[in-house]
Structures are given as C-alpha cells and as structure tokens.
C-alpha cells in the first residue's frame, strides 16, 4: 500500500479530530523499545519474575503487548486494518487486564500513555459495535440491575443485614461506605465489609451505606469500553452522596477507588474519596484503632493495580506532581505496625507489581488467562515463604483466592482489613 493510500480520512468534527490526533500521537510514538513488557530493569531480582505484562506473558505474541496493541490500534484508526480483516482483533484488544504495568514502564522513558490508547480503543470498539460476546450478560446486568456481577439489585445491601448500618437513602451521615459490586454480591467476601462496619462502629465513625440503592461505580464498565455507562453511574452516585450530605466516601475496592478518586472529578465530584487503607491509617493515627493484639504470621503484600500505579495514569505525560499518587507505603506501614506480623516483599512490588489477573473485565471474559495470571502471583508469593498474601481489593482477593483453590497452594489471601481486625483492641479495652 502506498503512502497516499495509507492516508486516513480525518474526522470532520472538532471533538473527534482532537481525539484522533491525541490517540494517534500516543500510538504512533511507540518506538518498540520493549520496555512495556518488562518491569523496571533496576528491580529485576530473579529471571523468572521479570515480566510486567500478563497478557504478553500468556499469549506471547507481541500483538498482546502494549506495543502491539498500539500498532493494531493505529492501523485500525487509520483505516489500514479493518475489524473484519482478522478475527483475532477483538481478543487482542480485550484480553488485557488494563493493569497499567506497560504504562508505568513506558513513562519511565517516553512521554506517552499506552494504557490510555488501549482504553480509548476499547471505547471506540464499543462505539463501533465490536463487542465481545462474553460482555453481553454483563451489559444486560448493568442495564437491568446496575451491577456487573449478574446479581439482583434488591440483594445489593444483603451483606449488611442485621448490622444496623444507616441507610443513606433515608438518613444522612458524614461518611459513606461504598461497598462496590464485588463485595456486595460475592458472599464469600462479605466478612470484609462486615469487619469494616465493626471497625467504624468501634471507632465512632458516623457512616452509612446506600444499600440496595447503591449503583455500580462504573470502573469496570469504563475498563471494558462502556464510557456511557460509566458517566451514568458516576452522575448517579455523585447525586446520591450529595443528597445524603456525605463529606467523605470510603471504599475498600481499589477499582472503585480509582474511578471515584481519578475519574469522578471530571464528572463533577467534589467529595473526599479515601480508600479503606487510607482511612485505616487515619484512624490509627488518631488513636481510634489500637493495634495491640499479636498476630504471629509471615505475610506479603500484593499491590492492587488500581491502588498503585493506575492512580498516576490518568495523564499522558509524566507529571512530577503526580509521582506519589500510588498508595504504596500506607498498607505496608499498617502491616508493619501489627505486633507479631513479619512482612516480606515479593520480587515484584509497588509499581512493578504483577497483576492479580482480574482487571479489565478479564475475570469475566478470559478465565484461563485470568487463572494463569493469578497463579503466577501465587507462585511468586510462595517464593517469599509467606503464609498469607495481604491485599486491599476484592477483585484481587477473588482472583488470587480462586487460583489458590485451583492449585492447592499452601497460602491464603486476606484483606488488610481482616488483618487489622484481628490485631485491634476491641470495645475500648
């Protein structure tokens, strides 16, 4: 094809023209330097644990790395490649955890954002009607029941039954605890929001939940390319908090936290958003939680992508003021403050952490790939000799937990909240 033939027909309206050039700039500037496939080279401590991109590690072809996805996206928006040219295009762009590992490594050397290219391309594919068949039940669940878990809206607040928590649809409170889809509908994980309620009560926090009136936060739909759904849910949640007089929103879900912290302000949110890790740190600092009980356990900490590197990735160019956006140290500080706990790091940690495998809709759409990714993390955690992987996201807990069940690994996964709950002094004693 000649250069003349390859020239794209440019969008005519201003918004789409700007989108095209922003997108193209990012994708075209990829130099194939190979950094998007590996963790920071300074941090490689073992040849087995050097990769950053789960998708590239699993599918192996470069098409399944940020570099390849940008090449494919570029050809798609330039019209050189058509969806019907290759049936693999859907998998290439959707079999990605959107963990942002590629992005943080790329930003180490370039001014560009591969993760934004991938997310924007997914949104465009949704717009073009290029959906994964696996997405259809999720989309149906979102439209009918306002959640991604195929659960019934009426059951959303079921985890809190009998706990006497304020319903923010009827009462007001300073703090809204946003439960999120995974915690609300994954019964095995209900112990965590229930522990949070106990901690809040003992610490005297004025809090409530939206119960069955809580919507999906929109984070998962956004990762899958459903931008319209994201905006709808963001607006609904912001309105609900406003009506309830909420000043602070706390969530224990890292996906939800990312959306509410980084994406909601663009939709007009002005409330303070804290992850449970931050809120715990605040309560500990205020002396409202005292970590006095000994928990004799060797643990390692898994950084959820959306609590770590993804937080600084809403921007295309590295901004020195955004450098510490990832919440890396507070969970570690809390763990280390618990008597009896021995904390050991995995080979890949902080911004170099390997994803749990659940992100980007992969947990619902590519079970084998999800399982591979989680199993790799379990193997890495076992190398440390830890008895438990502590984390701070229900998606990670589900994904890693399932891999432990599948492999029979002798390690468990627990939420930081559970660890704190075991160590805290109760009832003012």
């Amino acid at each position: 094809m000649s250069a003349e033939e390859r020239k794209p027909s440019l969008p005519t309206d201003e918004f789409n023209r700007k989108w095209y050039w922003d997108f193209r700039k990012n994708a075209w500037y990829c130099l194939r330097c190979n950094n998007c496939k590996w963790i920071d080279n300074w941090e490689v401590k073992d040849a087995r644990f050097a990769r950053i991109c789960p998708s590239n590690a699993y599918y192996l072809f470069d098409t399944y790395a940020a570099q390849g996805r940008m090449d494919v996206s570029l050809d798609l928006i330039d019209g050189v490649l058509k969806y019907e040219d290759d049936p693999e295009i859907l998998d290439i762009l959707y079999a990605c955890n959107t963990c942002g590992g590629c992005d943080v490594m790329c930003k180490g050397v370039h001014d560009m954002s591969p993760i934004n290219v991938i997310l924007e391309m997914r949104a465009k594919m949704v717009e073009d009607g290029q959906l994964l068949p696996q997405y259809l039940p999720i989309l149906e669940s979102l439209r009918r029941e306002d959640n991604t878990m195929l659960g019934k809206k009426a059951d959303r607040g079921k985890w809190a039954e009998g706990l006497g928590i304020k319903n923010l649809a009827e009462e007001s409170a300073e703090v809204a605890f946003f439960t999120g889809c995974r915690f609300s509908f994954d019964e095995e994980l209900w112990k965590i929001p229930r522990a949070i309620a106990g901690i809040f009560k003992d610490a005297g926090v004025d809090f409530g939940i939206m119960g069955k009136d809580e919507n999906c936060c929109g984070s998962r739909p956004a990762q899958m390319g459903f931008k319209g759904e994201f905006t709808k849910y963001a607006e609904n949640n912001i309105d609900a908090w406003k009506n309830a007089g909420v000043k602070t929103v706390v969530t224990a879900c890292s996906d939800g936290y990312y959306a509410m912290k980084r994406l909601y302000p663009e939709v007009g949110s002005k409330v303070e958003v804290l992850h449970m890790v931050e809120f715990l740190a605040r309560l500990i600092e205020q002396g409202k939680i005292k970590l006095t009980k000994k928990v004799p356990m060797k643990v390692t900490y898994h950084d959820p992508c959306h609590l770590g590197r993804r937080l600084s990735q809403a921007i295309s160019v590295f901004n020195p003021n955004e450098r510490s956006m990832g919440i890396y140290e507070p969970p570690r500080d809390i763990i280390k403050a618990i008597p009896g706990v021995e904390m050991v790091e995995m080979f890949r940690n902080r911004e170099c952490a390997w994803c749990c495998g659940a992100g980007g809709g992969v947990i619902d759409t590519y079970p084998d790939f999800n399982s591979y990714t989680a199993t790799q993390r379990i193997i890495e955690a076992q190398e440390t000799g830890a008895e438990a992987i502590v984390t701070a996201c229900p998606w990670c807990e589900r994904s890693l937990g399932d891999a432990i069940k599948e492999t029979g690994a002798k390690i468990k996964v627990i939420d930081l909240v559970e660890l704190v709950d075991s160590a805290r002094q109760r009832g003012g004693k």
Partner: protein, 541 residues
C-alpha cells in the same frame, strides 16, 4: 487469509504441523505488530509486513523451521526485542518472523563463571541471575530490556566494556542452527561432553564469522544457545532503590564510588581517559556527553527542553569523564584507586564536579550501566532518533571522528533537532585499547523528515566508505556495497553465505546479496575477457 496463495497456505500448514496451531499466526493484526520500530527506515517501510510469525520452543523447532524454509525457499528472520527492525529486512514474499519468546532460559555456571542463555533472555534477567551469585555481565547502551544473546553477538557496547571488553569478546561456546537446519557447535561445545566453558574450539574460531565488527543479524543461521563470560561482582545482589519510576533513584554501597571529572577540552578528556586506563582502575569509565546526561536525567520532554535551554549540563559537564570504582578485592582497593585517580586528575588538568552537580547526578546514575541504562530516554525529544556509532582503534581517533560527524550533521538541521552544542558519548574498551562513540540526533517521526534523515545516513555512509572508516552505518549496509573499499571482504563472505545458506533464506537481503556479487564477478570476468588481446596465430616454422 492475508496473502492467500497456495504457497502461503502450504507454508502455514507446515509451520502449524511443526509448532502447533497456537504458536503460528498469519493474521494481518499480528503482522502489524511486527512491522515497525524507531528508525527512519522502518517508519518509511511501515507497509512492509511479514506473512508469518512463529513461536518456537527449542532448538529442534528452529531446526525444523530452517529446514522448511530451505525446502520451500521462504525467508525468515529471528527477532528478540525488535528494537532494530531494519536489521530484519527480507522485503520478500512469505517472510516469516521467528519470535523466540518461549526460549527464555538462563543457566549460570557459578564455578566456571559463565552463563548459557537462550535468545529471549534480557540483559536485566542475565544480570539479576549473575549478581545473585556474585558475578556480573554488562548492560548495553540501549537498556537492559534488550536481548542479551543478540546484543552479545551484535557487538555489545556495555558500560563495563572499559574493563571487560565489548560483549562479543566475552562469547564462549555457541549452539548454532545453520540455515539448512543442521546444528553447528563452536568452542569447547564441539568437543563431546566438554560443555560451554571455552570459546576457542579445536578447529578454527568461528565466532568472528557471526560477528565481524557488528553481527550478521541472523543471516548465517540462528544461535539457539550462547555461553557468555561472567565477571566477579564485588557488590550486593541488587541496590536499594527509592521512589517510583520514572523518578527512581538508587544508592550504591559505600565501597563503590562514582567520580565525575570535568576537563577543559576534548583532548584533555581523552588524555585523562588514557591515563586512567593505563592505571587499570575502575569498573566503568566513559565520557558522558551532555546531551546524554540531559536526556537521561529528564523525566519528561518539558524537563529536557528546559535543561537544554538553561544549558546547565553543558556549563557544568561539557567534557565529563564518569568513572565508577569497584571494590573488586576490598575497600582498600577503592581507597588506593581513589588516590591514583586523584593524582591522574591533577596531572591531566581535570576537576571533579561541584557537590551540587554530584548530588544531582549520582542518585540517577548510581545504577546506570550496572543494572540498566535509560537508553530510550534519548528518543523523547523527537519521539525517534538517528544514531551513528563510530568505532576506532584509539580514543583519539574516536574523538576526531565524532567531531567530524557533528560537523557533518550541522548541514542536516533541520531535519535534526537543534542539540544546542552539546557533546557526544565516548566509550573506551579494554582499558582504552580501543573506543567507540555514538552520535545521536533526535528528529521528528514524520515521513518527509525520515526521508531527509535517510539521505543524511546515505551521505554519511558514502563518507565512511570513502574515508575507509569502520563505522556502524557502514556495517548496516550490505557487505557487497562496503566490501570493495575494505579489501574485498565481501567476496569470501559471499562464498561462506552461499555454502551455509544455499537458498538464501536466513534473514535474506540483509547481510550480503550473493546473486549481486556473483553477477558483478561474472560481468567483471567477461569484461576482462573482452579486453584481452586475441591470441596470436601460431608462427610457421
């Protein structure tokens, strides 16, 4: 099917039979992901795509692919990181890219101080495994995400090459699949049960056949396992790091010392480096160009442009020699070397940089060339770059050559972006027995700009050939173009290529065009014959 003729289908089916369906692709999307890189020529050739990409698991798979290629006469190229796509230049039908991702094993022989690596092992992986065992390899300028095997065979200008020699000189035994699919082993590996420990075999040393000054990039077959020397590492397994990428900093242990020495002129800089090399001190030594420092120090393009405009590094470090003292034997050795260095600095008119400059530089460069080098930060200003690597038998010659190249490049601004009078990077090898230098220029990644850049590259190539210089650009040109200027080395090379690769399938079109050589030889012979005077008629007795 993208190119759907019968031969394509046949090759696809055969590749699938060998490797399994999951390890072969011929869809257009996958071909797109193997079609471009940073260099101007790749930008211009964006439409040039392979027809197959395959993932072999082991040597046997590679053998089978090579046999198949020879049988059906289709070209193939192996590609690791893919940083240098132009080196894989078979712009022909049925081109097959071999992606060695499943060949990612590294085995370290601690006692005999070498590692055996497969094609998809990065320098970072190799270095991590070596350092765990108190050994080290080296880190190339391009960064530790590059593939160690290809880099060793290609040339390997490692940071520590000042002490250990460039990487090609650290190669031991090789397992090499010839284009016909046969296996050749070199060095001690050729001796039954001897292993990889020795580079020179019982017969002729074939390593240079692969590398020359720079590698033949797979045109003589594929190396599936390579043993590389490891050197004693007196430091920890890894250095503590702080902050988050791209602001990551690192601390070296106290018994390692970086020294940054400024010289008033390039001549003094070269003299200082010679003196340091003669004293055989330090583990890493290089002249860091100010452009390089600005590139590597900056965390964004804005910061780079600001630094360039302020001229901070130009003012503070125009002729900077950076040397890292390693405690190879003990802390006392470093104390001794520090004294030696101090004497050399005084004698050669150098001056250590101010504390302010030192404090700025050190945290960012502590790990540089030991664990990684932020090589690709060079590409930030224009989102691509052009590089000329000059290689010479003395540092003086390198300094002269780079000066000449800078002047040459002045005539090409634009398309090259203004470098504001910054200085270039110079690397000594083997304690300054030889040296190299990279003259890197940023330019925009646009087709018309890339065309201008290619023109500059061609001009410089002509200059190289005319001047008889062994430069990187020269070695990227096919041997039959360059050979006539260099003792006709292309003539025996064409014979070797033909003997090893009778169907011209291994990275075809890259290294040497045998048909063109033979045609030229035939024409020359015919011309010579035509010019010969007719034989005289026999005289009658």
């Amino acid at each position: 099917m993208p190119y759907g003729d019968e031969k394509h289908s046949l090759i696809f089916q055969e590749l699938t039979n060998i490797l399994g369906e999951e390890n072969v692709r011929h869809g257009t999307a996958t071909m797109t992901a193997y079609s471009r890189c940073l260099f101007a020529v790749a930008t211009l050739n964006r439409a040039r795509k392979p027809e197959f990409v395959v993932l072999p698991r082991d040597t046997q798979d590679i053998q089978n692919i090579a046999r198949l290629a020879t049988r059906y006469e289709f070209p193939y190229s192996i590609m690791g990181s893919g940083v240098m796509m132009p080196l894989h230049s078979a712009a022909k039908r049925y081109w097959c890219i071999i992606d060695p991702k499943r060949m990612n094993r590294v085995e370290v022989d601690e006692k005999n101080m070498f590692a055996v690596i497969q094609p998809y092992v990065t320098h970072a992986q190799l270095q991590a495994e070596a350092m765990k065992r108190g050994l080290f390899n080296g880190i190339p300028l391009v960064g530790a995400q590059a593939m160690a095997l290809a880099n060793h065979v290609w040339h390997g200008w490692h940071g520590s090459a000042y002490r250990t020699g460039f990487a090609t000189r650290n190669i031991l035994g090789m397992e090499w699949v010839l284009p016909t699919g046969d296996i050749m082993t070199t060095g001690s590996l050729a001796v039954p049960n001897a292993g990889y420990f020795w580079g020179e075999g019982p017969g002729p040393d074939l390593r240079n056949l692969r590398k020359g000054l720079v590698s033949e990039n797979g045109s003589l077959g594929i190396i599936t396992k390579l043993a590389v020397k490891l050197h004693p590492w007196p430091g920890p397994k890894y250095f503590p790091v702080a902050d988050i990428r791209p602001c990551k900093t690192s601390e070296l242990p106290d018994d390692f010392q970086w020294h940054f020495i400024n010289y008033p002129t390039e001549k003094a800089c070269a003299d200082g480096m010679y003196a340091i090399g003669k004293a055989e001190i330090g583990g890493i030594m290089q002249r860091w160009g100010t452009q390089l420092i600005a590139w590597e120090y900056a965390k964004s393009n804005e910061e780079y442009l600001k630094l360039l405009e302020e001229g901070y590094w130009r003012k503070e470090c125009l002729n900077l020699v950076a040397i890292c003292l390693f405690p190879f034997t003990s802390a006392k050795q470093v104390a001794y070397e520090e004294k030696v260095l101090s004497c050399i600095i005084e004698r050669t008119g150098g001056k250590e940089v101010s504390q302010e400059v030192y404090d700025k530089l050190k945290p960012f460069v502590a790990n540089t060339l030991i664990r990684d080098n932020y090589g690709f930060r060079w590409t930030r200003p224009g989102n691509t770059m052009h590089t000329s690597m000059l290689f010479a038998d003395s540092l003086d010659a390198v300094f002269n050559a780079q000066e000449e190249h800078w002047q040459h490049i002045e005539g090409y601004k634009p398309p090259f972006l203004d470098d504001n009078g910054e200085s270039a990077w110079v690397l000594p090898f083997d304690f300054c027995h030889s040296g190299g230098c990279t003259v890197d220029q940023s330019h925009e990644k646009l087709e018309p700009v890339c065309q201008e850049v290619m023109k500059e590259a061609m001009d410089w190539l002509q200059h190289d050939i005319k001047a008889g210089m062994c430069a990187f650009t020269t070695n990227l040109a096919p041997a039959d173009v360059v050979g006539p200027k260099f003792a006709n080395y292309h003539l025996p090379l064409a014979k070797i290529k033909k003997a090893l690769d009778p169907k011209n399938v291994a990275n075809a079109g890259r290294f040497i065009d045998v048909a063109r050589v033979e045609k030229a030889q035939q024409e020359a012979a015919e011309k010579a014959k035509a010019q010969q005077p007719p034989p005289e008629a026999p005289k009658a007795h």
